[in-house]
Symmetry: none
Subunit: 437 residues, 2 copies
């Protein structure tokens, strides 16, 4: 195996086999894992394929991919049952016959002793591997993997069970790849997580505001995971550190108001910020119905920062737990600046926390009026001494409304704590992308 020189792009393909992944009964998390690991290593993954338990299709695909890529990683079909066809396919494509492999035989015997089981029924089939294949140890399962060169490619064959595949990839494949290929480890990438701006708007802004020479040796990528947008820049050639820094600060300037992190989700940012500042959060939610509390409590260790959240859906509960005045509810309506503020003051008055968020709005589909259409929401945020309320309209369906109102509330409090402006315009032009989840 020759050592490739830096500058050479090492390209790879990933192949998953198995009827269950092909037909979609199982989401193919193996392929995602392998591509991610290879990409992190510096390998350029060019394609992923999935085929079923179909000998001819597996053979055709291995043959095709091993001719067109330098690395091929295959998962699935390594067991001893009749629909495990990958080993046979590798043997047929490479022209190397299946022979009994001594290392595998020993491995099976060791398992029998350790687990006190008998593997006679699979021994004969399970021990057959292509002649000359290098066995990859499976320290947690029965079927070992193997490595062999086929056509242009270094081919790694791994089991389909996710846990075993991952384990083998990390313990056996990664080190081998690092030894056999030399990767350019200077690649640097930058990431910006944005909230409050849509994908196409973010892109328009970037192309308008950034001199194109600053983007030059980078590969630019946008990913919308609504309501968030991730902007990624990966270095594709060489650039001096000064130039990289220039690009980084130009991007920071371009998206200034909308960047909330370079590494982690918005809810985690708020929990960490509260922890750092030793502040505690309390919530009074109406239309968001417990979503803000859920987003806080999904962060491990949230209890340091999050104390309690009241989901006061009925007017009675707004009065009882938050001390919102009936007069106030009658006069302004439950969805009003006054009630949102009163909810926030109410929860702060209990002395259970320093900072509060209160939300009242109309999630729909019913409940809208001309004056306050479906999608109207009032968000109160801040401390007893410094409370602010914003009115926003998100006329985008119940589920997305609830999600958007929750994240906007989190963002507003984050901004307030950091001393950033809280009157920024929020643009969500790619709303359609977000209704899932």
């Amino acid at each position: 195996m020759k050592k490739y020189q830096p500058g050479n792009i090492v390209d790879a393909a990933v192949l998953s086999t198995g009827d269950e992944v092909l037909t979609g009964d199982v989401v193919d998390s193996n392929a995602a894992f392998m591509s991610k690991e290879l990409t992190l290593l510096g390998v350029c993954v060019q394609q992923k394929r999935t085929v079923g338990d179909d000998l001819e299709m597996i053979m055709r695909t291995i043959s095709d991919l091993s001719n067109s890529h330098r690395i091929l990683v295959v998962s699935g079909g390594m067991g001893a049952t009749l629909d495990d066809l990958t080993v046979k396919a590798a043997s047929l494509v490479s022209g190397r016959p299946l022979i009994e492999n001594g290392i595998v035989r020993e491995h099976l015997t060791a398992i029998e002793i350790k687990r006190q089981i008998n593997l006679d029924h699979i021994r004969e089939r399970q021990c057959l591997y292509p002649e000359g294949a290098k066995i990859l140890a499976n320290s947690i399962g029965i079927a070992p993997g193997f490595y062999m060169k086929i056509n242009r490619a270094d081919c790694y064959f791994l089991p389909g069970v996710p846990k075993e595949m991952r384990n083998m990839f990390l313990q056996e494949v990664l080190g081998d790849l690092k030894k056999n290929f030399q990767f350019d480890d200077t690649r640097e990438s930058m990431r910006f997580f944005l909230f409050g701006i849509g994908e196409s708007q973010a892109q328009g802004r970037l192309l308008r505001e950034l001199p194109s020479e600053l983007l030059n040796p980078f590969k630019l990528g946008f990913r919308a995971d609504s309501p968030f947008v991730e902007v990624k820049l990966g270095l594709t050639g060489s650039a001096d550190p000064e130039h990289i820094e220039k690009t980084r600060s130009a991007l920071s300037e371009c998206f200034k108001d909308y960047i909330f992190s370079h590494s982690q989700p918005l809810n985690v940012e708020l929990v960490e910020l509260l922890r750092q500042k030793q502040l505690s959060l309390v919530l009074a939610e109406s239309c968001t119905g417990g979503r803000i509390a859920s987003l806080m409590t999904e962060v491990p260790g949230a209890s340091e920062a999050f104390k309690c959240g009241l989901v006061t859906y009925s007017n009675q509960s707004k009065e009882m737990f938050l001390g919102v005045k009936k007069k106030c509810l009658d006069r302004f309506g439950a969805v009003s600046r006054e009630v949102a503020e009163s909810m926030a003051r109410g929860i702060l008055e209990t002395g259970t926390g320093d900072m509060a968020i209160a939300v009242s709005g109309i999630a729909g589909p019913g409940g809208g009026t001309t004056e306050k259409p479906v999608g109207t929401v009032f968000i109160a945020f801040g401390s007893k001494k410094n409370l602010e309320t914003r009115k926003l309209i998100f006329p985008f369906g119940r589920t997305y409304f609830q999600k958007l109102a929750s994240y906007t509330a989190i963002d507003l409090l984050r901004r307030k704590i950091l001393g950033l402006r809280t009157n920024i315009p929020y643009y969500f032009d790619d709303l359609s992308k977000t209704n899932f989840s």
Copy 2:
């Protein structure tokens, strides 16, 4: 487009494009969805591929797949940003130039009016589609899809945003395929939604308990969407109504304790049940952190049944809002049968609702002890006069613990209201499949 005869196998390939799916930043749920739907329809999906935002690679793959399959479904790369290359690739492979499409132009204008936004910055690029392509409407997003014949294949190009893709597939593609191809008419005749039993356990039980002749003219399918399992039986031939009824009641008997619906999610079931019985629900959540409230309030019209939920994460808030005694907290600990019961009694005492759920547990990763390991949870449920508490252990990681505890609480209250036994054993044997999400 010619109508293929039954008996002919209609084979298909599925292609996902996009750097984010290729590099594994996103697990490719689109491909799973499309394969599953095609398979259900009777199409034989032979392979799935994924390539990045790389024009040449997309072209090569479309060309290859459209030569070797009768149906090709492509997702991703339909937007107006620079890394959206699928439309261009389709144009180049088919030799049909990109021209401005009037239908798309009208669609964009309609969105501008409806959402009161301006799409000038994307109009020019977004309106270009291959000449002669048939537009597939996108009723919830910006970028429409399109159909065209390339080489041997009927090719459908869909957006990459999962919600839009699914919507378009169901509304535009499915009907088209049914029209153009003749599939074995597999009518779906019964569905069972199960909670509290794992997929493989459900499958084992069915094969053990059901006489095989009852399954005979049906195609049996299991789908795990953890913690739920869906069992589907589709009629593949003809059978008399009496036989169908016999099968239905045998299945009902087999899964008796675990069936919660034939049509809708568990949270919707509880909200409807409460409405029907004119009961109102109040919550006191600790470890589930607002998830039960969120599940209730995601159902439109929930306010008829759901009144309020207190997320009392700190001990102070358990005392203040629920009247849990400090002595009780000190003596038994916040995670205890006594505290869960006291939380439920506390919220019921406020008179805000008739039925209550209270949950206290250890979501982890920290906080476990030998006596009460991570995953321990106490769920109190019922009315003032008839309150019950169950202890369960779900040692499965924070996120899944919270999900499982929430749904179990909902199921327990549902069972109590319906007079079903509340001491059923819950099995979740397929946990490995569920930790994502």
